[in-house]
Point group: C2
Chain length 871, copies 2
Amino acid sequence: MQQTVKQLVNEGRLEFVNGGWCMSDEATTHYSAVIDQMTMGLRFLNETFGACGRPRVAWHIDPFGHAREHASMFAQMGYDGFFFGRLDYQDRDRRMMAKEQELLWRASESLTPPVADLFTGILPNGYNPPPGFCWDQSCDDPPIRDDPDLEDYNVDDVVRRFLAIANRQSLVYKTNHIIMTMGSDFQYENANLWYKNLDKLIHYVNAQQANGDKVNVLYSTPSCYLQELHRANLTWALKTDDFFPYADDAHDFWTGYFTSRPALKRYERISNSNLQTCNQLEVLGGPDSRKGPFGEGDSQTMKKAMAVAQHHDAVSGTEKQHVANDYARRLANGWQHCQALVSNSLAALSGSSAKRIYCDNLNISVCPLTESSKKFSVNVYNPLARPVTWPVRLPVNGTAYVVSDANGKTVDCQVVPVSAATREVRRNRGSAVNELVFEVQAPPLGFTTYSVSLLKDGPPPASTKHRTPTAIQNKFLRVTFDPDTGLLSSLSNLETKQTIKLTQNFYWYNASDGNNSESIQPSGAYIFRPNSSTPFIISKTAKTESIQTSAVQEVRQWFSPWVSQVVRLYTESRALELEWTVGPVPIDDDLGKEVITRLDTSIETSQYFYTDSNGREVLQRKTDFRPTWNLKQSEPIAGNYYPINSRAFIKDDNDQLTVVTDRSQGGGSIYNGSLEIMLHRRLLYDDVRGVAEPLNETSKIFPEGLVVRGRLLLSLDRPPSAADAHRPLAQEVVLQPLLTFTDGDLHPNTQLEFSGLQAALPPAVHLLTLTQWDKDSVLVRLEHQFQSGESKVNSQPVTVNLQKMFSTLEVLGVSELNLSANQWKDEMTRLQWTPQTEERPLLKTFEDPSVWEVTLRPMEIRTFLLRVSLR
Amino acid sequence: MQQTVKQLVNEGRLEFVNGGWCMSDEATTHYSAVIDQMTMGLRFLNETFGACGRPRVAWHIDPFGHAREHASMFAQMGYDGFFFGRLDYQDRDRRMMAKEQELLWRASESLTPPVADLFTGILPNGYNPPPGFCWDQSCDDPPIRDDPDLEDYNVDDVVRRFLAIANRQSLVYKTNHIIMTMGSDFQYENANLWYKNLDKLIHYVNAQQANGDKVNVLYSTPSCYLQELHRANLTWALKTDDFFPYADDAHDFWTGYFTSRPALKRYERISNSNLQTCNQLEVLGGPDSRKGPFGEGDSQTMKKAMAVAQHHDAVSGTEKQHVANDYARRLANGWQHCQALVSNSLAALSGSSAKRIYCDNLNISVCPLTESSKKFSVNVYNPLARPVTWPVRLPVNGTAYVVSDANGKTVDCQVVPVSAATREVRRNRGSAVNELVFEVQAPPLGFTTYSVSLLKDGPPPASTKHRTPTAIQNKFLRVTFDPDTGLLSSLSNLETKQTIKLTQNFYWYNASDGNNSESIQPSGAYIFRPNSSTPFIISKTAKTESIQTSAVQEVRQWFSPWVSQVVRLYTESRALELEWTVGPVPIDDDLGKEVITRLDTSIETSQYFYTDSNGREVLQRKTDFRPTWNLKQSEPIAGNYYPINSRAFIKDDNDQLTVVTDRSQGGGSIYNGSLEIMLHRRLLYDDVRGVAEPLNETSKIFPEGLVVRGRLLLSLDRPPSAADAHRPLAQEVVLQPLLTFTDGDLHPNTQLEFSGLQAALPPAVHLLTLTQWDKDSVLVRLEHQFQSGESKVNSQPVTVNLQKMFSTLEVLGVSELNLSANQWKDEMTRLQWTPQTEERPLLKTFEDPSVWEVTLRPMEIRTFLLRVSLR
């Protein structure tokens, strides 16, 4: 069987499309995890089938809207074209009329065409066969009965219906070739049914050629079809925006899943950070990482769990509850495997095999070790290729501690009481009364160690004030509050001397319940449909308390029993942290709720705002507007929501307020100066798009409804330099330091500090990937993390030297690969397509001056396989 | 693929079981149609696969109760054993305890053992796999997941569950071998699922042998299993009764389908008669039958239609309405093909190719030709091997006719008015006001011709009297009526001088509606469950009118707008005809109804009554009793119903009242002297056994509910000679004369009379089959139609001469076959089994004195292939 399959692949009769580990979601995924999962799937195909197994066509027949960054990645992965099934119904109507269902997508404003150009085709029937032509165990269409003796002989009818469909389809596509997908969800479980009928269909339709019919049907593959389109030598409409939001009807905007299952979305994001750390430490620690004092560890389990979590019914939040639980379980299991590896690697690098404790619940101030220990050390591993300053908050029961860094130098630390909201949320999983707060500084791609000693036991320090302060500030930011309402009132950047009015509050949209009618669309896991465009305010005022210490200043706001927030300013931070806690969302009124926070500012946005695409390039959005067609807006809120993967901003000539998120969320800018972000959803009806379950999350610990906590980081800047702040800030959130703890004293020989780099990489360069490839080689991706033109300083080409990059790895050889690492860069020749509006671009190749010197241009990612040995 | 299948068959790895054209129903089929359908299926296997394709095992895993005559037929067809799935739950419980689920069935009281002995096994799980072990596209059981990395690895659990089931099963069967069926309804549509899991199951269960487990699992076949049982050389419980009625729980007696769809059941029965005529005329007419003046004709289409109509969800009446319609359509289509053949054959035999008209609606007095023609002839073909006297009733509009026979002799004929009931039932399909009645006499296996001429047109003769006569009588019978009620009051046989009291009326049981509860069983297509044991009487009195002529005497009884009857006595008949018309059964009271007629007599039945098995041997029945276990009766009516295929009788020392039916029906004897027969059913609920539709028959012509008409023939005799009357009477109903009509004068050269036999066969011998086998040979089955001991005269061996049998066929050679004609009789060696209660019988072989002289013993059927040529 394996032999047969390989032969079919080698003959081009069986073709793999897409070929990732999964078909990823496009709205809620981060580019780094998507690249990883594609790399894993394509590597499997490469290793199993060789060159003929390499997919030529990207194939996203189901995802609910299409991200420009995905198209850009597919182009850089060497795909010749891309086919998908779902797009806005108005968009499709226009494209059918204009024969623009096949187009050329220019998917980057930074990369030089045609690097990110991707030929894109919209399939005629989504992922389905034409109506009436489905033959499988889950299909009901009548089989082709070609025995004339049969009562229900139907060849004539089948042929007539097929020709009618083929002719109609030919009117809305450009060439003489049309594609029909024959299959659907869960199909080919009984392939015989399909092929038996397809054989007959082809036979009887082609037999009509004898009667002058011009339709010729054949088995084909997507890449054969693509090749015919290419041979047609036509020009194609050029598209530079994306395909969000997706609506399949006037009141059916698939913008709810941008936020659905916010806890799973955060768990996926933090798992990505942990996996990158795991990958890096596998390289840096060498073989000892995989088998060491802490047993056998591996990164593969978590790689697989993360890869499958990118699926368009995984991180998207559009799966049933028990499936969501399984995704989380897989991630947790992957992290267990990684913990052994990380412990082994840190043991090898530090020379200490003292037991390392992981505290995964620091966000709710739970860590049994720090809660009870009188002396412990904290290892801070920084997966970024740049030093990082990071605030640490540890649950403790003492009132005074001494914290010293790797050099033995005491650092400022403060003890603050655990908030009431945190005590409520953690239930009985922890008992800390205080939090110990200090800022750590970790070296690039390495770790440092802090030791913590208890000075004084006892009750929480009486530092909480129950009056709203008029302002909190550090050397970078000043935040003011309205004393009457307890709400934020302004934000100032003290360095740039700019101030905006800023009010922030929490609201909920009443989710449409479908009125118990089949024709009225309810909100569900996929779809956001508020019953009214005016959300309910949760409270006009917030009860507050404040804490002001030398390390951190907090204003704790209490809006209702199920909505609270901490406005937090760390001493060394240029970003204002809004730590929100939402839930259990009450449903005793039988109303589904979609909870948002809205920032209302004095910025003159003129209907524009900006969101990132999969955490990379930023797209301009405009209320009630689509760049490529004349929008007839039918949902003033849901129809203006867009996915926010890592950041959104609003700006005018003077001010740019950027919000960096800790997970994917949906958001929009409905009013001038306003930016709203949906934080949590709790719904009572299914939206009839396949999940067949209301999105009504509960858990063992929260049977009355899930509580979700997260952070928004606000940065106020002058527009021309805003990216200099939000680019590194977002990367710090995506790849956050990993803290591990050791009880008691460390062995004196323990190496307390380590960096895997000879020097920090330049600010524009992000070390996207560092992972073991095989015994002797590691995969490295270097990324220019700025768009062209978004920063005077950083949007410039930058050169690094691969050989001189790592401190402990000797680089013996280097080969450049395509983005997905399944093809040598110099063998990557893609089909070239001509846009309607301009000349076919010349393929520019940038020659690196030397094999070791690598130049990155804005938004470029370059992928290298390094042959290495540990020094 | 064909090569592979043949090889697997030849190696014994793939085995056919049963092998009929269908798996026939056992309760509602007639033996002649069952033998035909088995012959057709087994011939196909023989011709496709040769000797290795011959099934060794009969396999009735679904039929709802098992007939002794079926077992007898299977034995005579050469099967080594028989497996089935369904039997009474109390019977199964007892058999499990006693390890008697495998037994030896002695299926005939007449045939010398072991001719009708059949080893019979009851499958452990019906037609299903053991619970939890079903893997197919329509199954939900978890597949065997044997990758230990899988979260839901379940090999240990699966093996544990399987061993538990296997060990439990071994406790209730006799040998060290047990059988498990792996499959079910509609399974192996995706065989890969099954085999993948079975392979794993076998592997992992057998691996436990290393741990001392004694279970060894292997792929096997029913005949391999049977062979192991045989090798065990044990003795087996002997069974001589049958497996009716079948109940799967205390209130779930599958006795409704004995009557379900009475119109389809009658259509199937009359189609069998027509098919036998068609078969015979194909032989007698020679090649001209298949292609002649009336185009191409064939018997094959109707053979197939009849064969599939024997299915246990066909003539059983347990299919959906549209499926029932399809069965009827196939039969009608088959009859169209046969009509061309019959017309051609009669043209060849008579020398006249005048157009022949078929009137299939004579039962409702519809025949356009006779209604309008002033002169026409009637060809009467008699498929019996004996002359027949048969009353003909033709719809006419004249008041006086002359009818003359083939010799030009005038025969007595009478004109009577069409009854009101018939005018109501025929709707606007005919307009005859009168019926012309005369008796015809047809030669054996041949035809005669009567000519009919109109004498006088005009209104119906005023012969109807509106007073109930006290009696009607002919020279054989006298029937009296109660003048107050209009009901029958007595029946006398004037020859034997015996008289019984006889009252007859119509009733309906209120069908259980399940009370809208899942736990309460409603009546449905399968199940009969009256709400009360006391049926509602339709009317205590009947309105009557009577007609008395020299040809026929009728008392027409009117019970209600939907129940009427004609009590009819033809001048030359020894049987009293009760022609009942029932329907549309009213349901405006929302009550399902099961309509019966009940004959209450002075016969002292002492709880006993008698029913036939598939139209052949008769079994004794006893109220609230089963011969092989201690019955706990839970349904006093439904639990006492048995299938009546062609006759039932009640008797005491002096009197036997036999009722010959025109189709299969259910019936019982609930009270002393009483016999009830269910005629029609109309139900409002599904009985949840698979048909998923209430048995609520309507049609285009009867949108308000189907009207059904039928006949019961009553014969009163002394018990020792009753069979001499009911055996030929029943055969005359099963194989009734076929009437064809020709308008106007016949050509003077037309041959008006023909017999295919040199002489009528002796009374005990029935020509069961005469059909073309291939170009040069015909298949003949001769049957001794009396049981041993039931007739002094006729229950004796009888000898016929094959060579001197036919008048127009020269018999060149003869070979005897098994009953199903797929094996030479002298090669038929079956496995022999020893009953517990007696010595293993010696296989007696009867040597015929010559190759041409054939001796038949009671209930014997012998099957011959004759090489013939037309003389």
